[in-house]
C-alpha cells in the first residue's frame, strides 16, 4: 500500500475525510481543487486544476507512480466530466468516484470509474442496518473499521495439499482455533459463501483466497498454517 500515490480531485468535506483516512496508507496524497481559494488552505496542501485535458503535472505523477484517483467534486456533472477526462487520458488509472444518486453512479461507471461510492445509498444502508440490526451492524462495523481486536483478513491458500482434497464446506475449520472462515475467493475473482453449494463440491486449491475473521493473533497462526496474508490488487475488481 505504501507504494501507491493518491490523487484527490475536489476539495470539500468528503475530500478532507478521505485524505484524513488514507494519508497513513499511501506514499503520498495530492489534492487538487477547482477553486483557486482552496490553495490558501493551511491544513492541506492543495493545488489547482481545471477540467481541460491538460494533465501534464498529473501525468508525470501517474506515469512514475502507482496511483489511485478519488473524484469527489460536489457537482455530479463536473465529477462525471472529470472521471471521463481522466479515463480518456489514463487507461490504467484506478478511479474511485463519489455519486450523490443512482443516476450519477451509473454515469460514473460508464465514464470509466473503477469504483463508485453512492453517498445517499451508502448512508441509507447504514441507517437501515443500525435501526433494524443494531448488534450485527455494530459488530460488523467494529470488524471492518478495526474498532475492536476483531479483524477481517484475506488469506491466500498456499498449502492446499494439507486439506487432502477436502471441500471447503466440509472442512472442520474449528481445528484452527478462533478463526471463522466466511468466504472463498477463487482465482477468477468469483466469491462464494463457505457453505454455498459450490463450496460443497469444489475442493480448495492453492491460489484461493479465504476471507476469515478472528483476533489478530489467531489470524497470524492461521496464516502460518495455510498460506499468507493477501493484499488484493483490485485493479480488475469491481463492486
Amino acid at each position: 500500500m505504501k507504494d501507491i500515490t493518491a490523487l484527490v480531485f475536489g476539495f470539500n468535506n468528503y475530500a478532507s475525510e478521505i485524505i484524513d483516512n488514507v494519508i497513513q496508507k499511501y506514499k503520498k496524497v495530492y489534492t487538487y481543487s477547482l477553486d483557486v481559494k482552496d490553495a490558501e488552505n493551511e491544513k492541506y496542501k492543495i493545488k489547482n486544476f481545471d477540467l481541460s485535458d491538460e494533465w501534464n503535472e498529473v501525468a508525470e505523477l501517474i506515469n512514475n507512480n502507482r496511483c489511485i484517483a478519488f473524484c469527489v467534486l460536489e457537482d455530479d456533472a463536473q465529477n462525471i466530466f472529470l472521471t471521463i477526462s481522466l479515463r480518456a487520458s489514463f487507461k490504467e488509472l484506478m478511479i474511485v468516484a463519489l455519486a450523490t444518486n443512482k443516476e450519477s453512479a451509473d454515469k460514473l461507471e460508464m465514464a470509466g470509474a473503477n469504483k463508485v461510492i453512492p453517498i445517499v445509498k451508502t448512508t441509507a444502508d447504514i441507517i437501515s442496518n443500525i435501526i433494524t440490526k443494531p448488534i450485527a451492524t455494530k459488530v460488523l462495523h467494529s470488524i471492518l473499521y478495526e474498532e475492536s481486536d476483531l479483524k477481517i483478513a484475506q488469506i491466500l491458500v498456499e498449502k492446499a495439499d494439507d486439506f487432502h482434497g477436502e471441500f471447503p464446506a466440509d472442512i472442520d475449520w474449528s481445528r484452527y482455533k478462533g478463526i471463522l472462515v466466511l468466504y472463498i475467493m477463487h482465482a477468477d475473482m468469483s466469491r462464494e459463501f463457505i457453505y454455498s453449494s459450490k463450496a460443497k463440491h469444489n475442493s480448495l486449491i492453492n491460489g484461493d483466497i479465504l476471507i476469515v475473521t478472528g483476533y489478530e493473533r489467531d489470524i497470524q497462526e492461521f496464516e502460518k498454517l495455510i498460506g499468507s496474508r493477501k493484499y488484493v490488487n483490485w485493479g480488475n475488481w469491481s463492486w
Binding site: M1, N13, Y14, S16, E17, I18, N21, V22, K25, I68, F70, V96, L98, T100, N101, K115, I117, I119, T122, T123, A124, D125, I126, I127, S128, I130, I131, T132, K133, I135, A136, T137, K138, V139, L140, L144, Y145, L150, I152, A153, Q154, G178, L180, L182, Y183, R191, F193, I194, Y195, S196, I209, I211, T213, G214, Y215, Y231, V232, W234, W237, W239
Partner: protein, 521 residues
Amino acid sequence: MNFLKRLVIDASYSIDGSKSYQKQKRFFYNLLEEDSYKYKKYFDITMIMLIFASIAILIGEVKHDLDESLIYFNSYIISLIFLIEYLLRLWVNSSVSKIIINRYEYDSFIGRDFNLYKALRNVAATKFSYIFSLRAIIDLLAVLPFFHELRLLRIFILFRVFKLFRYTKSFQTLASVLATKKFEFLTLAMFSSIVIFVSSVLIYVMEANNPDSPINTLYEAIYWSVVTISTVGYGDITPITDEGRFVAMLVITAGIAVLAFTTSLFVSAFTEKLDEIREMKTIEDISNIKKFYLICGYEDVAREVAMLLRNQHKDIIVLDEEYSRVENAKKDGFTALHYNPGSIESYHKLNMDISTQVAAILCLRNDDVENVYTALTVRSINKEIFILSLLMNETNRKKLIYAGINEVIYPQELVGMITKELVGQPVAFEAIHELRNEQSSINIDEIIITERILVNCSSIGELDNKRYRVVILGIYKKESGHFYFNPLDDIFLEEGDYLLVIGNRVFIQEFETNLHSKSKI
C-alpha cells in the same frame, strides 16, 4: 342546612378522590366517547347491530305476526340497553362532584359561605345542556318504544336510525363537512322557502277557484310547489290556467337554480375538506399501527431509508413541514403527513404513543438545525425513544449529541472510512458489504434467544447450525452486554441473548424455525 352543605362537600371530595369511582367513570367515558379507545369500536358495532335488529323487527311486524319473544326483545331489552346507555352518557358527560367542588373552592376563595343552591343550579344547568342537545334528544326518543303499547310511540324506533350518527364516524365527517357551509345552506334554504311560499300562494290564488284544476287547497299548492322546485315533477298535480302555468315556469327556473346551487355547495364543501378528511383517516390509521419508524423530513437519504425499510416490511410514517416533500413521499407510496416534526403540537394532534408505537425516530433532514430542533422536541416528550440523526456539518456533532440523539450519521465520515477499507481490503470490504446488504442472498441476522429456544437448546453446541449451513459469528450476552466472537460449544444460552448468524437467508429462516420447533428426544 350547614350539615347538609358539609355532607354535600364531603361527599363530593370523597367521590372526586375515589380511584375506583374515577377508574370506572373513565372506562365508561372511553367506551362511549373516546374514539381512540380500543374497545369502543366493539361497543359501537354492537349498538349498530341492535339498531338494525330493531328496524328489522319493526318492518317484519308490519305484515307478519312475529314471535312474542322478538317483540319483547325489541320493546324491552333493546330499549333497556339504550336507556342504560343514555344514563351512562348523562353520567360521564360532566362531573357533579367537580362542579360542587369548584363552586365550594370559588366561594372559599372570595371568603363567602358555600352556596349550595348555586352549586346545584350549576349542576342542573350542565346536565340539562346535555339533555337538550340534539344527540341526547335522539337517544331519549330511541328509548321511547319501551312504551310500545302506545302505538304512536313505536314509530320512535325510527329514531334509533339517527343514533347511527353516534357510532359511524363517516356520518359525523359528513355532518362536519356540511357544517362548514352552514351559511350557504341557510341562504339556500331561505331562498327555497321564499320561492315555495310565494309560488304556493300564487298558484293557489290562480288555480283554486278553477273547478277543473287539481289544486284546491293550500296544502296541495305547497305540495305542487315543493315537487316542482325540487325538479322531481311527479305530474300528479299540474296547473291548467295560463297564469298558473306562468307561475310554474318561474318555479321550474328557480328549481334549476336551487338544484345547481345545492350540488355546487356539496361539491365545494367536500373539495375543500377532502385533504382534511384524508388526514383524519390517516391519523386514525396510524393509531392502529402497532410499531412504526417515524421519519422526520423527506429528502434524498430519507427516501432511500424509507425504501429499504419498506422492503423489510416495516411500517413507516413520514412527517415533514414542507408540502412538496410530503407530496413526494406520498407519490413514493408512503404514509406522509404535512406536520412540523419540530412541534410538540404535531405529536399531540397525531395522537401517537411514542413509547409504545414508535420503534425509532429518524431525523433525516439535510439540515443540522432542523434535526436538532426535532430531536429536542421528541426528547421533551419522551426520554427513552431511540433517535438517529443525519449530521451535515462535523462542527455540529456535539450539539446533536446534547440534543439527546442516540446515533449520529455523518455521511462524509462514512465515505472516508469506506475509502480507507475498500482500498486496503477490498475483498473483505465487499464481503462485509454483502452481509449488510438486504438484497444479497447471504445475510447476517440477529436471532433472539427466547424461552422456547432454551427449552430445546441450552448451549451453543446444541444449536446444530452446521446442518443448516449457518455460521455462528458470535453471541451477544444481554446480562453482561458483551459480544463473544465465535463462541465455544459449551457456552450457555440465556433468555434475551442475541445470536449473530451468517448464512443464506432461507437457511437462516429454517435454522431459526428449527430452534423454535425441534424437540429433544
